[in-house]
Amino acid sequence: MCTTCGCGAGEARVAGKALSEKEETQETRAEGTVHAPPEGPAGGGAGVAAAAMSYSAVGGGTGHSHQHAGGKPHRHAHHTAVHEHPHGHDHDHEHDHLAAFADGQGPAGTDVSGRRESRMVQIERDILAKNDSYAAENRHRFDEQGIFALNLVSSPGSGKTTLLCRTIEMLKARVPIAVVEGDQQTSRDAERIRATGVPAIQINTGKGCHLDAHMLGHALHQLSPVDDSLLMIENVGNLVCPAAFDLGEAHKVVILSVTEGEDKPLKYPNMFHAASLMLVNKIDLLPYVSFDGDLAISYARQVNPALQVIQVSATTGEGLAEWLAWLMAGCAARQEKKQATMASLRRRIAELEAMLPAAARG
């Protein structure tokens, strides 16, 4: 998947290396070009379907109606926002449309004027389906390994990396930690994290504005986080795009610093809506700024009533105990879930093994 806003596919790099995605994109393009020049009839089936219907042209090509063999009149308004199917025909099959042409008796695949037939193909797929399938793979990996994965999102300069370094310093003796750093350019953040002694990998999104599940999958492959660990994914500093892209994480954690406006949750509602926890960071600066914390929290809860909030300062350490407790509770829940799954699998294996002798006798 291309992840660029501003074009230029396949520029994402994990630890300086291009993703195999680049080849994928080129392959798809190459096939698209092969498909592009229309040659010959679309297919025999289409021709048969056309013969079973009668067509009549309506209104200068902006729309047309036709009748199926069953006798239901059927109208399509093209190139308008409204797509009407007043007779409740739900389009669960493919059928052919002849654009503007009186009695559809041309050879299969073309109409009398030599124009190609068109047909409707049902798709009904979410645009983000591809990303979501990569996210499901990542989530499956996290479940199997008992990894508690968090997607940290915020605007640039909210203090994510500093908070992360501080968190790692305080927590690394208690739980194994690994970090994925997303930035447009440079590996400065990954270097800062590695200085704390935990493994980190840098994804550079190139012209991209967010991480996607495919990039994260590549990063995980290289990073190989250990079982029962805490994985922190620091997304690109951007309050808009990362909201739409599931990475397979357990939670999105949005960080809002007191040097920003308290109305950010209202201005960028999608991100605050997608997050489970909001960290209000840099609270040591509250005496110097006109930031109304209660108002910020009430705005955020307006967008997302279930949002949890912890107020912290990465500099003074205030509030960090509550944040660490939240992290440890999350890790424990993941590990318990993994153990419960393993216990039920073991029980199932024991049951099957118990059945073996009986099966051998039979």
Partner: protein
């Protein structure tokens, strides 16, 4: 905005469908975009135009069906229209309103040849 990524996502769906259903050219693409999905249809058209050049969807029309935002108001326990995620309930003026419709971004159908 991430419309460029979404436009590439649409193109991938179209190309996959072309392989499965064996068509060579796409005339129009019907999308369902929810009012609460943070997608600008105009930006989407612009991006799709750029990414589809030289592909089987070159010149294809994007028909965008806007799906109205809808939510469940926890105060009056009714489904109400919702223009934006943070809006109060239009009936009682209260919060919260849980979005129940209008968040979709889907490729609904294609007109192909």
């Amino acid at each position: 905005m991430h419309e460029m990524s979404l436009a590439v996502g649409i193109l991938q769906i179209v190309e996959e469908a072309a392989r499965a259903q064996r068509f060579q050219c796409v005339r129009s693409i019907v999308l369902e975009i929810g009012e609460l999905s943070a997608v600008e249809p105009e930006a989407m058209r612009f991006c799709f135009d750029a990414v589809s050049r030289g592909t089987l969807a070159d010149g294809a029309e994007l028909d965008v069906i806007t799906v109205a935002g809808q939510g469940l108001c926890f105060n009056c326990n009714k489904t109400v229209p919702l223009a934006a995620l943070y809006d109060p309930c239009p009936a009682c003026g209260g919060h919260p309103v849980q979005p129940t419709g209008g968040t979709e971004m889907r490729v609904k159908e294609l007109e192909v040849e």
